[in-house]
């Protein structure tokens, strides 16, 4: 048996670091207002791809994340698409996702994406309420978001919307409205995130100075539970902690991450998993560009684990999937017996009711789901 982490990759992630401006909650790898760097960036990712000896490599999924991939337009887009076609040809029935901001959406752009092979757009909607969008320092209005969703549904195979909850001053009923509107608009997939305060984001220091009022843990929990209930009620499958899809519309690319698969990654701050090794490119876009122009490796961090640790990773990240982890699948794909590996921690978590176990499969219970971050550390140390 070849374990998961030694198998050849069937996925590629491309990080596109450009944004018009940085939103208050964001600490991602990006450069704001530097469209002048798009061409050097395209040149650099070409250099990065050229350095791999296994390309072209056929893949089942491509994901363009950001930043804002929809900032790369027209000729720049054509260069990018061509590069991907050449190096990462998509298999028949493959999935190609692109993150798109509502304010960038127009018919021509979406049709171009579709023509070039993109199957799925993930819209950075965040909310349909103007107030909340302003609080989050987003560039678009609620109406722009509605229009973008409708247009995307019209043109693309699969449309996903990202929603943020627990924004400063948000109430449960406002959140309910957001959920209902997005469901009504008919998206196929919803990713929903509680607002987090990250070091390096503007909100972090604003909260520190008492300028931003957080909604509180209880309300945030209620909002999360409301999302689960409403979306399941509307026919969505809750398939990962923060991801919901109508049947047949799960994001296959993201499922790679949670099932321990290997994947290529290109661009600043991009993280890859190849041959049992996890590597992350330098997070600074300018440093990334410099390194590649100078013929140096863009890799800033590298982490090689032993097989046991890798199998534990598969277990921990696999449990983020609501379906959980199947014992037979686990043994066949990692070479480890799940119960031997997770030992005492699993037993205790079952006892506490944080895990459910039907004998074949273990999965988070609802109670375990909401405190799941407290479970991983110990499990990983098993």
């Amino acid at each position: 048996m070849v374990p998961l982490w030694q198998r050849p990759p069937r996925a590629v992630y491309l990080h596109v670091p450009f944004c018009r401006r940085r939103c208050g909650y964001c600490n991602f790898t990006l450069v704001a207002g530097r469209s002048d760097l798009i061409q050097p960036y395209l040149d650099s990712i070409a250099l990065e791809m050229a350095a791999y000896d296994d390309l072209p490599c056929q893949v089942d999924t491509i994901f363009l994340g950001g930043g804002t991939p929809s900032q790369v337009r027209d000729d720049h887009w054509r260069q990018l698409a061509a590069m991907l076609h050449r190096n990462f040809p998509l298999s028949a029935d493959g999935e190609w996702s692109v993150e798109v901001n509502p304010e960038d959406v127009d018919r021509g752009y979406l049709e171009q994406l579709r023509t070039d092979g993109v199957t799925r757009v993930s819209l950075g909607v965040q909310s349909l309420s103007d107030d909340k969008l302003r609080t989050l320092e987003r560039e678009h209005t609620g109406q722009q978001a509605r229009d973008a969703i409708q247009l995307a549904i019209d043109i693309m195979d699969t449309v996903s919307a990202d929603l943020i909850f627990a924004a400063p001053n948000e109430t449960l009923s406002r959140w309910k409205d957001d959920l209902a509107s997005v469901i009504d608009l008919g998206v196929d997939h919803i990713s929903t995130y509680g607002l987090t305060f990250e070091q390096g984001a503007a909100f972090w220091s604003q909260r520190g100075k008492g300028l931003l009022k957080t909604v509180g843990e209880e309300l945030e929990l209620d909002m999360y539970l409301l999302a689960i209930e409403s979306l399941i009620g509307a026919g969505f499958e809750h398939y990962e902690i923060s991801n919901f899809a109508r049947p047949g519309n799960r994001c296959r690319h993201n499922e790679c991450y949670w099932t321990g698969a290997t994947y290529h990654a290109i661009g600043p701050g991009a993280a890859r998993h190849l041959k049992g090794r996890r590597e992350t490119n330098h997070r600074s876009t300018t440093e990334y560009l410099r390194r590649l122009q100078e013929g140096r490796s863009p890799v800033a961090e590298s982490d090689e684990a032993d097989d046991r640790e890798r199998a534990l990773e598969v277990l921990v990240f696999g449990l983020r999937r609501i379906d959980g982890v199947d014992r037979d699948w686990f043994l066949a794909n990692t070479g480890f017996n799940l119960d031997d590996l997770g030992g005492q921690a699993l037993q205790e978590y079952r006892g506490e009711g944080w895990l459910q176990d039907d004998g074949r499969r273990i999965a988070l219970s609802r109670r375990g789901l909401v405190i799941s971050d407290s479970l991983w550390g110990r499990l990983l140390a098993s």
Partner: protein, 629 residues
């Protein structure tokens, strides 16, 4: 030959220098008759200039030259210098010519802090006189009072000295009135000096010779020498400080510690001038040192008497075992460091016989040591030394005083830790140490100080007005109430102007209980405290609250309870963690999260687990929270 680069304590080089000096000068202080010897100490409140005055006298008598002085020659260890407190007594022999006669003046330095009261009393027992130094601006303070009373008890001749008369705001006349009023000493005898400028020092030296009585011992009588201090020298072993009361100490002779019982050969006798200078003998009335190849300070007891091996005289009176009043547990943060901590404590104990420790086990903290100290300052000093001299991370439990428990069986237990308190049914009487505290403060702070004492169950013994603006309050207080924070509280209640000192009165019965802290139903031994029954509710609530704030939320509810026996008197709940789920986890987050979790695991290692509850080390000091404002 000059003494160049004199440093203190003496090292090998200085020893050689002093031996040369001895031969060349042919100095022989020992030929001085008893009637020309004066032994005295200096008593003063902290910062009233004791050490500076001593330095000035050393200089005026030519014992040291000004340029060779390191300021405050009598304070030895670096730590003492850093804290500005004299911990160990020292003795310096000075030669001073008055008219046709050469006198030997022995200055015995005394520790200034109440923790070292016993050492003070032994040092004073070696003197016939005491200089009472009072700051010309600050006036009489609490320590001045306490030490003067001690000197009166020893029947010393007291010479009042008003120091710092060079100060612009010196108020000499008022201070003289205070001295008369408080201490009952004739103010007309007060000598104004400035140790800083040297004004009045020669007069002072003359007065010492005229007024301090000469020793009355018999050089030809049976040997009796009082041990008043000792220190450990890495090269020479224990150096024992003595005052010969009767007879002679001669190099090469055999002696016996009459209390300790050990017998030794005198390898060297000598005096500090201020460096060690050997001589052939020390005779009745003289103060100096002996070296007898002793390897541990634990063999030499302050207050012991040196006598002859055969037909020895009676030991001198006043000897006591060191009285450890404060105990705390010291545990290595990392259980692996246990033996390293033991080595470090052993090393400290060699240099400090009044510090003791023994292994103890706590369910909560694992293997560690219960350590006994003379007082809270002593505890802090030992801790600081541990930190400086070893690399072990420590968890310290809250300090407690020693209690006495009379059992129904008639047996009396000495209790050094709350865990040792027996079942309520077996206790006939629970006794705690009571101290008499003198506060000296400006009159406008009397009210706030009285409140401070009342809150701590103090019993007022009296109020005396030192002057129209200053008063002395006397209270009897439980030592436990005094040691934790009374000094700090006094300073804030009196804007820094109040001073205090205290002496132990003894053990007295009180309505005391053992207050236990339970975490999820499990008693955490290291968190138990002994307190007054009437304070238990307030204390229990305060500690439970404090613990609640120190314990992080777990995935389950954590109940923190305070209990007396089986009766719960306070409860706080650390609510269960309701939500801990990070939304996003995609490709790049995997490595990042793995690092984060590894870091969290490291953090947990530094906590102590009680059942499934992780308790941070800081929480073990939570029991000091008295719930008082």
């Amino acid at each position: 030959m000059q003494l160049v680069g004199l440093i203190w304590p003496c090292n090998g080089l200085n020893r050689r220098l002093s031996e040369n000096l001895n031969r060349r000068d042919g100095l022989n202080l020992t030929s001085i008759p008893t009637k020309n010897i004066r032994n005295f100490c200096i008593i003063a409140h902290i910062d009233h200039g004791k050490s500076t005055l001593a330095d000035r006298m050393l200089e005026s008598t030519g014992t040291v030259e000004n340029r060779n002085q390191k300021t405050q020659l009598l304070d030895d260890m670096e730590l003492e210098r850093a804290r500005g407190i004299t911990i160990k007594a020292r003795a310096v022999a000075m030669k001073y010519r008055l008219g046709e006669t050469t006198y030997e003046l022995n200055l015995i330095d005394t520790p200034g802090h109440v923790d070292f009261q016993y050492e003070v009393s032994r040092s004073m027992a070696c003197c016939e006189g005491a200089l009472l130094v009072v700051d010309a601006f600050q006036g009489v303070e609490a320590q001045t009072v306490a030490n003067t009373y001690a000197a009166v008890d020893q029947e010393l001749t007291i010479l009042p000295v008003i120091n710092k008369i060079d100060l612009q705001n010196a108020r000499v006349d008022e201070i003289i009135a205070e001295i008369e009023q408080t201490l009952g000493i004739d103010g007309t005898e007060a000598m104004p000096v400035s140790a800083k400028t040297g004004v009045g020092i020669d007069d002072l030296l003359t007065t010492i010779i005229e007024r301090v009585p000469a020793p009355v011992g018999d050089p030809d009588g049976p040997l009796q020498a009082m041990v008043f201090d000792s220190h450990y020298d890495a090269y020479r072993g224990v150096i024992t400080y003595v005052r010969v009361i009767n007879g002679r100490l001669r190099r090469g002779e055999k002696i016996r510690f009459l209390r300790g019982g050990s017998t030794h050969e005198l390898m060297e006798v000598g005096q500090f001038r201020p460096q060690q200078i050997a001589c052939d003998e020390l005779s009745a009335g003289q103060v100096g040192y002996v070296i007898c190849n002793i390897k541990s300070l634990s063999q030499v007891h302050v207050g012991d008497t040196i006598g002859t091996v055969k037909h020895s005289a009676e030991p001198l009176t006043g000897y006591k075992e060191p009285n450890r009043m404060v105990y705390c547990g010291l545990y290595p943060s990392d259980g692996q460091d246990f033996s390293e901590l033991r080595d470090a404590l052993n090393k400290l104990a060699i240099n400090d016989p009044s510090f003791e420790f023994e292994p103890e086990t706590s369910d909560a903290l694992g293997f560690g040591f219960r350590c006994g100290f003379l007082g809270l300052l002593h505890m802090e000093i030992v801790q600081q030394r541990l930190e400086q001299e070893s690399s072990v991370d420590l968890v310290q439990t809250a300090p407690n005083v020693t209690y006495e428990i009379a059992l129904t069986t008639g047996k009396v237990l000495e209790i050094h830790k709350p865990q040792d308190v027996p079942n309520v049914g077996d206790i006939e009487e629970f006794r705690q140490p009571i101290v008499r505290v003198n506060f000296v403060l400006p009159v406008e702070y009397i009210g706030s100080t009285i409140k401070l004492c009342q809150d701590r169950r103090g019993i007022r013994q009296g109020t005396e007005y030192l002057s129209p603006t200053r008063a002395m309050l006397t209270y009897d207080l439980p030592l436990a109430e005094v040691i934790y924070d009374l000094h700090d509280k006094l300073k804030s209640a009196t804007r820094g102007y109040g001073t205090m000192d205290y002496e132990l009165l003894g053990y007295f019965p009180a309505d005391l209980v053992k207050l236990d802290m339970l975490v999820n139903g499990k008693c955490v031994d290291a968190l138990s405290v002994i307190c007054h029954r009437a304070d238990a509710d307030r204390r229990g609530r305060a500690v439970a609250k404090k613990l609640k704030s120190e314990i992080e939320r777990h995935m389950f509810e954590v109940a923190v309870q305070a209990a007396i026996g089986s009766r719960v008197i306070a409860r706080e709940t650390v609510p269960a963690l309701r939500k801990n789920v990070t939304a996003k986890c995609y490709g790049g987050d995997i490595s990042r999260k793995k690092k984060l979790w590894a870091k969290q695991r490291e953090g947990k290692k530094r906590m102590k687990s009680i059942g499934k509850v992780d308790i941070p080390q800081k929480a073990f000091m939570a029991v000091l929270d008295t719930g008082q404002e």
